[in-house]
């Protein structure tokens, strides 16, 4: 369904630079036309034909899960925008600094009419290089936005030292090792790094290795191999733990974690599906996002899945290639997740 309108969600704590990024996207000569959905308090100085103010009304679906929240206003606005189909190529949703990205994302999975016409492209989070560390300490919203992101811009890098930057990156990696990280000043970034990411496209779930393992690859050139000596703030106020792996600083956030699981033995679909469905039904509130590529016994195809809280989406993707090792892999990002239980449950799904 290539004719679905891609939707980019811009998040970031107050003052991080969301509006700067939005204006940059709108003003660059790319020939794309955007419909922009801004929060009702933030519509200052946006120069675009189609700007809609949103109320950010979040409500719970009556499906027995309290984490299944959606944005009612988005459903209404996207329905209205679709009447002007052909007048724009993509939608950008700018959220307030205090917004949780999950209800926005879940809206695209829960509502039929929205899901039929629009698709979530990526959650892009702008972080303030100078203040992020403190916000991670005192603002759960900021941590959520980092944990949920597909792309993170560490903005205002001119205001901090290189050592501080590496520290911030390590903090972000401690929460979300899977997002693309970029250092920016005034949100200057090539637009293909934030638009057209297909981060929620099942067909594009090719690469779920943590980004910090990809050092040296073209995309993550900001990650140096520099040794980080002596800045291991051993008595951090938020009780984070940090340690060095081969020179790369590594933090574990106390509450927000991510981990990956893999299995060389093919899985049994009759065990896996009941397990994962039960897992997100029970623990979905803690699991912000999950995704995976699976090898089922006797199945020549790769199976891919992703989830946001309790909502799961999955499909057969393509046949495994002969030279591909048929390893099943899944990653989870969440808050206070029962990691051992999830690992054990996954391990029991082997055929």
């Amino acid at each position: 369904m290539t004719d679905k309108i891609p939707v980019t969600v811009l998040t970031g704590y107050l003052g991080a630079g969301k509006t700067t990024l939005l204006n940059r996207i709108l003003s660059e000569p790319h020939g794309q036309r955007f419909a922009v959905i801004v929060n009702e308090f933030g519509e200052i100085g946006i120069d675009n034909d189609l700007v809609v103010g949103a109320d950010e009304e979040v409500f719970e679906m009556n499906n027995g899960c309290i984490c299944c929240t959606v944005r009612g206003d988005l459903i209404r606005i996207i329905d209205g925008l679709m009447r002007r189909k052909g007048k724009f190529d993509a939608i950008i949703v700018e959220t307030t600094g205090l917004a949780d990205p999950a209800p926005v994302a879940q809206t695209f999975f829960v509502d039929d009419n929205v899901g039929k016409r629009a698709k979530l492209d990526a959650v892009v989070t702008v972080a303030d290089a100078k203040w992020l560390k403190e916000r991670l300490r005192d603002a759960p919203e900021a941590k959520n936005q980092i944990a949920f992101a597909d792309v993170i811009l560490i903005n205002k890098t001119d205001l901090v030292s290189d050592a501080d930057l590496r520290e911030i990156e390590a903090r972000i990696r401690g929460i979300n090792p899977y997002a693309r990280l970029h250092r920016t000043q005034r949100c200057a970034i090539p637009l293909p790094e934030v638009l057209g990411r297909n981060a929620f496209d099942l067909d594009r779930i090719l690469d779920i290795e943590p980004a910090f393992l990809e050092q040296g690859s073209g995309h993550d050139h900001h990650h140096s191999h520099d040794h980080d000596h002596g800045h291991a703030h051993g008595h951090d106020h938020d009780h984070d733990h940090d340690h060095d792996h081969g020179g790369l600083k590594h933090y574990h956030d106390e509450h927000m974690q991510s981990f990956s699981i893999s299995s060389d033995t093919p899985l049994d679909p009759d065990k896996f599906f009941p397990w994962i469905q039960n897992l997100v039904a029970q623990e979905g509130q803690k699991i912000l996002r999950c995704k995976g590529i699976l090898s089922f016994k006797g199945d020549p195809d790769r199976f891919v899945f992703q989830g946001v809280h309790m909502i799961l989406d999955g499909d057969h993707q393509r046949p495994w290639k002969d030279d591909e090792s048929r390893v099943s892999r899944a990653v989870f990002i969440g808050r206070d997740m029962p990691e051992e239980m999830i690992r054990k449950g996954f391990a029991e799904c082997v055929a």
Binding site: V52, E57, N62, D73, I77, D112
Partner: protein, 336 residues
Amino acid sequence: MSDARTDTASIVERIQPVAAGGAVVAVHFLGDDAVFVLGEEALHVWRDGEERRVAVHGGAILASAGDGHRIVTGGDDGKVVTTDPQGASETLASDAKRRWIDHVALGPDGIAWSCGKQAFVRSTKGKAAAERTLDLPSSAGGLAFAPKGFRLAIAHYNGATLWFPNAPDAKPERLEWKGSHLDLTFSPDGRFLVTAMQEPTLHGWRLIDGKHMRMSGYAAKVRSLSWGPGAKWLATSGASQLVVWPFAGKDGPMGKAPKILSPSEHRICAVAAHPKQEVCAVGYEDGMLLLTRIEDGAEVLARAPGAAPIAALAWNASGNRLAFGTEDGEAGVIAL
């Protein structure tokens, strides 16, 4: 249960095609003129085979309502526009902040519209009455006037509000039910209020005592509701069968099963009950249009499948003309 319905009686040759010129989002009759509401800017008026366009909005048309004598539309240009049978349109109101007009409603004594968390009414009886405004707990999901008097129901999160705009001191009545309530409709006898929810379910209240009615089992959100003659039944979209709830008894559908008619492989997206007979026009996702008799489920094929979803359906008041429009802008009038 074949979708082809090759053995079904057919009146497909009676379709008079209409070149609507854009996606049709609704259709209403003004007398015997079929008025197709387009997704953007204009109404397309069909009068005995002659067609013309009436420009009404500077952008998307987000909502419309008609009562046979006039049509009211709300747009993303912040305007509420009324159009009369002569095709003369007039701007009734313009939102000061140019907010979207999300919903509109027409009642016996007034016109209503909403922008986000505010509902507005204007009386159309007597002297030009002042506009009245009601602030809501959350954005309006839909508006409907009671069949008699000057009373507006507003659907929103966690229920609906009943408002008597002419009694500004009276506190609006709140009907509670958890969840997001969207379209809503009074039964034409005024006894029941039914909302379509974000979930694939309907919720109803018996107004005399506030008793709840849950009507569930749909595959998709219910977006089209239509009352049969005498308010005896309510036909609904949202499933791949026509779901008809019985409302004849004093308890409405409470404790009763709906009638399930005209099954298909495709979902129903629009329904329109005949104004006089026990018949419902049923529009499917694949463009098929059936006329289904409620009593025994007998069918007449009014339009063959194989096109875009039926987005709009309406009968004229005497019930001898049926108009339809699709998401792709195909449209027609069927004379019966």
